[in-house]
Symmetry: C2
Subunit: 376 residues, 2 copies
């Protein structure tokens, strides 16, 4: 497979930000990148399949500094955080993270960050790709609230895979093994400051190190690569194959402002009964009460995956009933898989629909997600 074939080039200019790990990733030989939150983010090193097996079998190191943070700090920080998050944040303890679908007043999804509570009055949102900094800052200003909203010097580096635990325990101590999922602690490695969280955009287990001194990115990367040698560590990146197998969503691909959380199986993260006031509450209550008209499902089929370049249309007979939102060939399942948004009457497990690909229609079967269980 010639990975270069048909792929456009891009330029490296000063308009797009470089991560603190940028030089390290370049030396490590990344092949393909995207732009995410106005920052370059490597997404392929060898091939998506080789990177995938490194993640599944061993341990991988990912430059995900492009998951930028929005910090909310000050007397009204809790008030602002609660207002923009549709979950009851009084339940969020210090040192705890929570996955929060952010929505507009109409209930449309604008991001799906992890919220980290660093202090009673200090929060981070670890973002998918949209300028929530502008959203949060504009709202705080318009409300006249006393809260400082800014992007802190905090750049996540993910360590993911089944051998992440022994590697990170080796570097930081056995306390990391006791961290609950999404919990975190401020720590350091040979004086390099960071927030260490048990989290990451895979279901193979692992940690995210939020480096809080951007001048020390290459140093941190190199220390981890060195310590990871016995575990066969390899540079990699958020992997499309594994994350679709695991049912992890990518904002912009699997949902956007036109979709609500209930449609993409995120209803369990929405507190419609809480007393707390938040943006979109009445819209989400109404959607929940009335029921959704379309829903995200898994699709599987035996042929090779069609091009994942666009949102391919899905049909039932002559009727268009939805669209693919992301797809890949699963090397472990040995068939193709996709996430799709379908009309609600087409979402029963086992239902067969057709995907409209460049090479004609492909029959696919509605399947449960995740396609594969987490190894965390």
């Amino acid at each position: 497979m010639n990975l270069h074939e048909g792929k456009p080039f891009t330029s490296l200019g000063p308009r797009i930000r470089k991560s603190p790990f940028f030089n390290a990733t370049r030396k490590a030989g990344y092949h393909t990148y995207t732009i995410y939150n106005h920052m370059y983010m490597p997404i392929v090193y060898e091939t998506p399949e080789i990177d995938y097996w490194n993640l599944i079998n061993n341990v991988t190191i990912w430059d995900v500094a492009a998951e930028r943070q929005v910090e909310m700090a000050g007397p009204d920080a809790f008030r602002l955080a609660q207002y923009i998050c549709p979950r009851d944040l009084s339940k969020c303890q210090l040192g705890q993270g929570m996955y929060v679908p952010l929505v507009t007043e109409e209930g449309g999804m604008i991001n799906d960050p992890v919220l980290l509570r660093l202090a009673e009055d200090r929060f981070w949102l670890s973002l998918a790709d949209s300028d929530i900094l502008l959203w949060a800052k504009g709202i705080a200003m318009a409300k006249g609230w006393d809260v400082n909203v800014f992007e802190p010097d905090a750049s996540p580096l993910a360590i993911q895979g089944p051998k992440a635990k022994p590697l990170v325990a080796n570097l930081f101590g056995d306390w990391v093994l006791a961290l609950k999922y999404f919990w975190f602690k401020e720590t350091e490695l040979d004086g390099i400051p960071m927030v260490l969280a048990r989290s990451g955009w895979s279901k193979q287990g692992g940690f995210e190190l939020y480096l809080t001194d951007r001048t020390r990115g290459e140093e941190l990367w190199n220390k981890i690569m060195e310590a990871g040698k016995p575990y066969h560590i390899a540079p990699a990146a958020p992997n499309q194959i594994e994350r679709i197998e695991s049912g992890l969503l990518s904002h912009g691909s699997d949902m956007d402002m036109r979709d609500n959380p209930f449609e993409v199986n995120l209803g369990k993260f929405i507190d419609t009964e809480t007393e707390a006031d938040y943006i979109g509450k009445s819209a989400l209550q109404k959607i929940k009460a009335e029921g959704i008209k379309r829903k995200q499902v898994g699709l599987k089929w035996n042929d090779q995956s069609p091009s994942n370049e666009n949102h391919l249309a899905v049909f039932k007979g002559d009727k268009r009933v939805g669209k693919l939102t992301s797809s890949a060939y699963s090397p472990r399942l040995k068939h193709s898989i996709a996430l799709a948004l379908l009309d609600i009457d087409q979402t029963e497990i086992g239902n067969v629909v057709s995907i409209e690909s460049a090479n004609g229609r492909l029959d696919a079967e509605v399947s449960k997600i995740p396609f594969l269980k987490a190894s965390i």
Copy 2:
């Protein structure tokens, strides 16, 4: 020159949006693209130099659909537009556009769109690369104003170069020649609806056609390419060489939230004396009264341009006095040029400073901007 050398690849996936002209640009053979407002945008076809000469000598067609629009419509549309724009919008007539630096409460630049007034109570912001949709929508909601804020189906296609006028007059009629700079009119071409504006991110003259039916992008592109043959039309893109020569700014590269409009020579677009209330007014009044501490200047030097990958540091002797924000080799001037942000005491025309490049220091002279006069 091997354009591929050292350049990373990127992938084409469903996460990033495709412009209505995407298929047309691919068939036209774009070589390099970037991601802008969550959308692919071609930036090089042949080489930056060949594209440049096509723009300087003839006429070029650019897919700039990634300059997405934010529409503000409804009873409080003027109120919202005025609140987020630091210019007196009562002066903006129907059919008129205005360049507006958008700022935070602290006066930091978050975008520099063109505002188009489509009706008394209907505006578009034609954006640089940041989610002003979230900014404007969040503020309107927090204020409780009665205004609909959304991204309309409007995708600019630019026609730029000295032969843009005869070409566009040929297609649309001689009325286009009477359009004043930044003014626009709703029109159509063989039933393809659009807003036609005299504008564009070059100083070689031309128009932007805001296509308002995204299903007809390829059709519009092809009609213009066909009509442009006698004028030697070529596909091209926002050109870094020409725009630096002309002193046009790129948000993210030449300024960002850490910079105020006065520092980057945009003070003439700020109305600090108006009665209108807008975000950042008191901060901008204070900055204007106290004077700025650093300022954007041009730099020129005889060697080849160093890598434009990063914001290179600028020194005066041992003292760091600023940074390059964008640079290129000018084929018309036959020397290198750059935009730079320097400490105010280093900004006198003729002052010699040093640029820290990978190959050592380069002496450069402070120069007026624009480097070359507009041909509009």
